[in-house]
Symmetry: C2
Subunit: 415 residues, 2 copies
């Protein structure tokens, strides 16, 4: 008989993180065969063509010139007030919804997702996500005794599957009366898909129709972790204005992260922003999230908050920062373009890519495919329904040659 000290709800399989494991293997291959022979598409972080992590100069020169006390001091539990202003400005830009908005600092986007799920669902509830999802949504839900239900992201034409969304959304809402739906857009991880403005209208119309029943509580978590690398100008922020004047029983929570936009993955900073037409609901969001901050990690990384605030307050710093981000975004778009074009040329089926760090390749036995690709020195993450290729981490040149290698391995597996 096995003996446990931990409570039943906290017993988990004794397994390590799969992505870090594969990344370690890729590193071994690089050491053995040389960087030019290996394609390491494992980690979700921006890497330059020489394999070095990209660290924005404007961000790190700001960090290194902060007074020590501004790094050392505790931040306030909800986050520094000027940061909570700056993050709204930085996130919404000219598309701020006409609504009551309250922000709370969190460690990366994860902290925001965690608060949204824990605070807005009951034990046993299902959280709704699309079938191509970031796996920690499941980890978070299961940690708290919740489950995840999925709708199909794409229909047969490769468009957003509004039929599947509506069906699952209404089924769960009818059963639970409260529903947290997570939409990771723009630049969905793992597919690179971004909902169009028209698709957003369809989603919100379904929500509004269901909001007519005052017993329903509808919560959308919009995970915008990759927003700074989406679209060419501001077009992928326009949808924010659609969160204006929603019914009181629709709450939007935007999960913002500094990890990607500021290349500060390791500094653990972001924010949860609650958006409601009703001031009390926005306040309730704030105090609930603040309590959860205090009870989980106490307060956020102060230096990261100061960096965003200082850049946002100074027009010259803002300009330099935005230019640097845009340069990186252009690099990313060129890589993705190379991968998408080469996939078309060799006949590799990929999911519709619009923005961001990843492209997904549907396949039936992704685990086997990933293992076979290791033999080709191409390291790619296996998901339930396919492979995730990280264009953020692979040079344009290698993005151009990868589809042919993947295609060959998948074809061989099907034989």
């Amino acid at each position: 008989m096995s003996f446990n000290m931990v409570a039943n709800h906290a017993i988990w399989p004794k397994v390590n993180d799969a992505i870090f494991g594969l990344a370690a293997k890729a590193k071994e291959a690089i050491d053995k065969y040389g960087r030019e022979k290996v394609i390491d598409s494992t980690l979700g972080a921006l890497v330059d063509d020489d394999g070095n992590l990209i660290c924005l100069e404007t961000v790190y020169s700001e960090l290194k010139s902060l007074p020590n006390a501004d790094i050392a001091a505790y931040a306030q539990v909800a986050g520094q007030p000027d940061f909570l202003e700056a993050v709204q400005k930085t996130c919404f830009k000219e598309y701020r919804p006409n609504a009551h908005i309250r922000a709370v600092a969190t460690p990366g986007g994860t902290g925001s997702i965690r608060h949204s799920i824990y605070n807005y669902t009951n034990p046993g509830d299902s959280v709704l996500v699309c079938d191509w999802f970031w796996s920690p949504y499941v980890t978070i839900s299961e940690e708290f005794g919740r489950t995840v239900s999925t709708f199909e992201l794409f229909n047969e034409k490769g468009e957003f599957n509004i039929i599947s969304f509506k069906e699952k959304f209404e089924e769960l809402l009818k059963k639970q009366k409260r529903l947290v739906t997570i939409l990771n857009t723009p630049a969905n991880n793992p597919t690179g898909y971004s909902l169009s403005d028209e698709e957003w209208d369809e989603v919100l119309n379904i929500a509004k129709e269901n909001a007519k029943n005052p017993e329903n509580r509808i919560i959308f978590v919009v995970d915008v972790a990759y927003i700074d690398y989406a679209g060419i100008g501001m077009e992928r922020r326009k949808f924010f204005t659609k969160f204006s004047n929603l019914p009181d029983n629709i709450l939007i929570i935007v999960a913002h992260s500094m990890s990607k936009g500021y290349t500060m993955y390791g500094m653990r900073s972001g924010a949860a922003m609650g958006i409601s037409s009703n001031k009390d609901i926005a306040d309730e969001f704030y105090y609930s999230a603040m309590h959860a901050n205090r009870a989980n990690w106490s307060n956020g990384t102060r230096a990261a908050m100061s960096i965003m605030t200082n850049i946002a307050k100074d027009p010259e710093k803002t300009k330099a920062y935005e230019e640097e981000v845009n340069k990186t975004k252009t690099m990313l778009r060129n890589r993705a373009k190379a991968f998408v074009e080469a996939s078309k040329e060799v006949g590799l089926e990929i999911l519709p890519y619009r923005d961001g760090f990843f492209v997904s390749i549907p396949c039936s036995d992704a685990k086997k495919a990933s293992e076979e690709l290791i033999k080709e020195n191409l390291f790619v993450i296996a998901l339930k329904k396919g492979l995730r290729f990280a264009v953020c981490a692979v040079s344009e040149e290698k993005c151009r040659v990868s589809p042919a290698i993947i295609k060959k391995v998948l074809d061989n597996l099907e034989k």
Copy 2:
């Protein structure tokens, strides 16, 4: 009828943090009357005699010389392996228990406490703490649907109240069969009390006696947030060896924090260390905490981990760092000595102080006393059972004059 979007378990009073509120008032008074006229004993952070936050030079020069990529990159979910080695070495020094020990990085001590409570209790359980406690223990417990029970920290002679501990410990264990007890020692916040080695023996003997019932699951969380400012040499670390060869159903979790020892409050770093005679129990601790990491904040602040690792690896850096901490500790001891002596002189009753950032003054209406003291420009935190004076934040000179001011106000209140 009020309308809530948040789930019932996440509805909390719409109140802001009391300590930050009082700290803001103290700042106003300083701006108005000048620093020399105000005694600001609110925040639990080391402040020099001129009112500046102390930021250890050895720590911040290390931070500012880290390569950007070492700050930017994600840390592993459980923490960087070399950090998890370094934190054990740094915490236990020559008093490492003879046991299986596994460490996981957490944001400050809070993250460790949170994991301990969430993973090792069931909903509705009571967590045992002493009656002079750090209030977030309650916030954390309540957040997860747990409650807090208290034993009396002191008996009438001002010694550790082992009778009260035994009574409450056995009462809860009998009822719940599993019990998380938090002991914030050495240098208890808010009293400055440290359990002696003999008191630790008494506590562990009671635990071992109760561990004879194999159905009992006994978990001690040892919150050592202030350990680097306790004792003169290593004497306040000796108790760690007592965690060797304990029965399998006693698990020790040491909650370590970099906030105070490294003056990195705002960088959110620390570790939870599970100590067990049974390898499986230590592993179970590790994987449970790792899952909780992933589900709450994903991973820890990488730069903070690197700072500890780099200092620990380099004997010269270690020496310089330890000298700097010891200088600060001496300053703190002198301040506390001044406060304790002056209290004796004016006849102010205080709780037994041994180490650390705070001294506590028992009184019947602490809130009223704190308000009256504001009129004297002395800012001190009101607890349920008394006042908390932060010697960490007040110069030796002011520590010497404060007891008389407090005594006068308390005497007036009793009239």
